[in-house]
């Protein structure tokens, strides 16, 4: 069975009186142990799709089967639990808690686990993950004392601490220079290869997408199956933002 199966997912935002469709019937299957890059130009709806995949948002219509379970109609609390136990999130801007040690940052998701770990167990688990990612000597450093690459590795450690089968990375290299980008991508590949974690990377960078085994392109709310994605260079979106209601709505839903 596929790990993720989307059937005809639609998402429509309401902006005042007008309905703005962002996703217009997306169907997608992602198998276990896959590493998928989700590409698309700004405003194409890739962030909205990402939010729905990550159970941060619910589709207007359509079905989302996760590991054989329909999750698109779960309540907010059930989705929170799902996010806690099944997903790890890595963000473009790291989203680490300021003035908090790396160890505490990584241990943070464990506080929300249903089966509670003791404080000591949580810290040990966090330390193990950090040591694995080569940050064993940075446990007590605050985010401001870490380099960008180190911060992103702390964020990845935080995503890994619950041992999730699935990691979502939203532009994980967007704030990193090319060398650290390479390191982070290599880390993802390693996790995918050795720990068999399914990884979904959202990006607009073709170079990043190339590190994935499979690339899924989204354009104007629809998947372009098999077709070669429109190559978009880094930074191009800032210059040429597609206008129109769809892109506007996508901005509302996410950074696009």
């Amino acid at each position: 069975m596929e790990l993720i199966e989307l059937r005809d997912i639609c998402k429509t935002y309401r902006l005042g009186d007008i309905d703005v469709p962002v996703l217009k019937g997306v169907s997608l299957q992602i198998a276990r142990r896959e590493m998928v890059a989700l590409m698309g130009a700004s405003g194409s709806g890739k962030s909205t799709l990402m939010n729905i995949l990550g159970c941060l948002d619910r589709p207007t219509s359509g079905q989302y089967w996760l590991d054989g379970r329909e999750v698109s109609r779960l309540s907010a609390d059930e989705r929170a639990q799902l996010r806690n136990q099944t997903f790890g999130f890595v963000f473009q801007n790291f989203n680490l808690l300021p003035r908090t040690s790396a160890l505490d940052n990584v241990a943070m998701p464990l506080a929300y686990m249903a089966g509670h770990l003791s404080e000591r167990q949580a810290r040990r688990q966090a330390r193990e993950v950090l040591e694995r990612l080569g940050l064993g000597d940075r446990l007590d450093h605050h985010p401001s004392q870490l380099s960008g690459g180190q911060q992103q590795r702390v964020a990845i450690a935080r995503a890994l601490v619950n041992h999730p089968p699935l990691i979502f990375a939203d532009e994980p290299t967007g704030n990193l220079d090319s060398r650290t980008s390479g390191e982070v991508l290599q880390l993802f590949q390693e996790l995918n290869r050795e720990d068999h974690i399914t990884i979904i990377i959202v990006t607009h960078d073709a170079m990043v997408a190339r590190s994935a085994r499979r690339t899924v392109c989204i354009h104007d709310g629809l998947l372009q199956d098999g077709a070669q994605c429109v190559p978009s260079e880094t930074g191009a979106e800032a210059v040429a933002r597609p206008a129109g209601p769809a892109s506007l709505a996508a901005e509302m839903g996410g950074s696009g």
Partner: protein
């Protein structure tokens, strides 16, 4: 476990911005500190006021014998003689709400010293317990008579300031002999000044003597004629002035013959006293004291159920009411001030918590993304507010307590540590935290994780 972790998370979050946490709590610190200081100073002054009202006799109970009635004509309270000194001893022994009891024998007659004389408003025979009950133990001069004086019916007395002034005109009365109905009393002490009572009569115009002395040596009957010279002439001595100035009261009724008297014997106890004066432990215990005293006296006087009491117990209701209303007014006033300052502190907390929620939008989004439920977020921010308030409350208690100690030290105001106030301060600061922390926490928990994560 869960509570501990939540509290720890809250402490860590607050620790990330200690300056702001400090400023936030400042409102609560000052509020609670002011409340505690005011409560302590207030309780102190209130206790002082209570004490000074108590010296007017607020917790004093007076037992007077009941009324005699003959053929439908009653003679008013105190017209039968049913109280004995033993009643007083029994009350003191058996009633836990009563602090002290003194028997009272009254007389009204002339006091003579040298070429001066005076009729004091009150001439009271009693025991040393009287001074304790009336809170009159500080003497201006000399010392009080003792229980031994009472037992021996020694001819000693204490005099009030007014009487001392009238008889001695400035010279020290200690050790002088004054005459009451031709019985000479040695003055052993002068009472401290007490001034007028609530009714305006001078309380210092008084002579206190052992009740045995007054009863057995001065008055056979309770109320003699105030005219001492007349009383002295009622003897068998021949005095031609007797016919001009008859000193005996005219006899309305014919005197009973000896046979008649023998047929209708009067129920005379060996000794009786005019009144009993008792002090309750505190004004609050007055009702209990009255109940216990009634029970004891009914039993001792062998009054059956359903029969009326042969005595009356009076309390100083007017004074007690004044006392309680004064205290209540003061407490309420302090409470109002307390409430205002705590509400102000609470609004400060809410303000800063709202700012904090806005500032930490991204953190909230992140926590939600990694699996925090709405109620986890609500709890986190609520606990933060409560922790702030409790820490502020604790600091406020210390500040207030220290402040009131300083006031006591430098201004010499009476101060009393008030445990209920401290308990209330803790309780109130926790509830202020919950009440004013709830809205920001609720706002935080209602955030959309997507918007929160993208918040700049």
């Amino acid at each position: 476990m869960r509570v501990y972790r939540t509290a720890r998370t809250a402490m860590t979050a607050l620790g990330r911005n200690p300056m702001r946490a400090l400023l936030t709590t400042l409102g609560i610190v000052i509020g609670v500190g002011a409340v505690i200081a005011m409560m302590e100073i207030g309780t102190g002054s209130s206790a002082a006021i209570q004490k000074s009202i108590a010296t007017m006799g607020a917790n004093v109970l007076l037992v007077v014998p009941g009324t005699a009635a003959s053929g439908g004509v009653s003679f008013g309270a105190g017209s039968v003689t049913t109280l004995t000194p033993q009643d007083g001893e029994a009350i003191l022994r058996e009633s836990p709400a009563v602090r002290n009891v003194a028997p009272i024998v009254r007389a009204r007659t002339q006091v003579v010293y040298g070429n001066r004389n005076w009729v004091p408003q009150q001439m009271i025979g009693t025991t040393p317990a009287f001074l304790d009950i009336r809170d009159w133990t500080n003497l201006a001069e000399g010392e009080a008579f003792t229980e031994r004086d009472v037992l021996n019916a020694n001819k000693v007395c204490l005099i009030g300031r007014t009487l001392a002034r009238e008889l001695f005109q400035g010279e020290s009365p200690i050790g002088r002999e004054i005459r009451v109905k031709n019985v000479s009393f040695r003055v052993v002490g002068v009472l401290g000044a007490k001034g007028a009572n609530m009714m305006g009569s001078d309380q210092d115009d008084i002579l206190l003597a052992p009740w045995t002395t007054l009863k057995y040596r001065v008055t056979g009957s309770t109320l003699g004629s105030p005219n001492q010279s007349a009383a002295a002439t009622t003897g068998s001595t021949v005095n031609t002035l007797n016919r001009l100035y008859p000193s005996e009261a005219p006899q309305i009724y014919p005197k009973p013959s000896e046979a008649q008297a023998a047929n209708t014997p009067l129920m005379v106890r060996f000794t009786n006293i005019d009144q009993l004066l008792a002090a309750a432990n505190s004004p609050e215990e007055i009702p209990a004291a009255i109940r216990q005293m009634t029970e004891i006296l009914r039993e001792r006087h062998r009054i059956r159920d359903g029969q009326p009491d042969d005595f009356t117990i009076r309390d100083m209701t007017e004074m007690t009411n004044t006392l309680t209303s004064t205290t209540r007014l003061m407490t309420n006033l302090l409470l109002c001030v307390a409430m205002i300052s705590l509400v102000v502190g609470g609004v400060g907390i809410m303000n800063i918590m709202l700012v904090s929620v806005t500032e930490r939008t991204r953190e909230i989004g992140l926590r939600m993304a990694v699996g925090a439920r709405a109620r986890d977020i609500l709890r986190q921010f609520l606990v933060e507010a409560v922790v702030l308030c409790l820490v502020g409350g604790a600091a406020g208690i210390l500040l207030g307590h220290g402040g009131s100690r300083l006031v006591e030290l430098f201004l010499r105001w009476p101060v009393a540590t008030s445990l209920p106030a401290i308990a209330a301060a803790v309780l109130v600061s926790a509830s202020v935290g919950i009440i004013f922390g709830f809205y920001p926490a609720w706002k935080a928990s209602r955030m959309d994780p997507i918007d929160a994560l993208r918040y700049e």
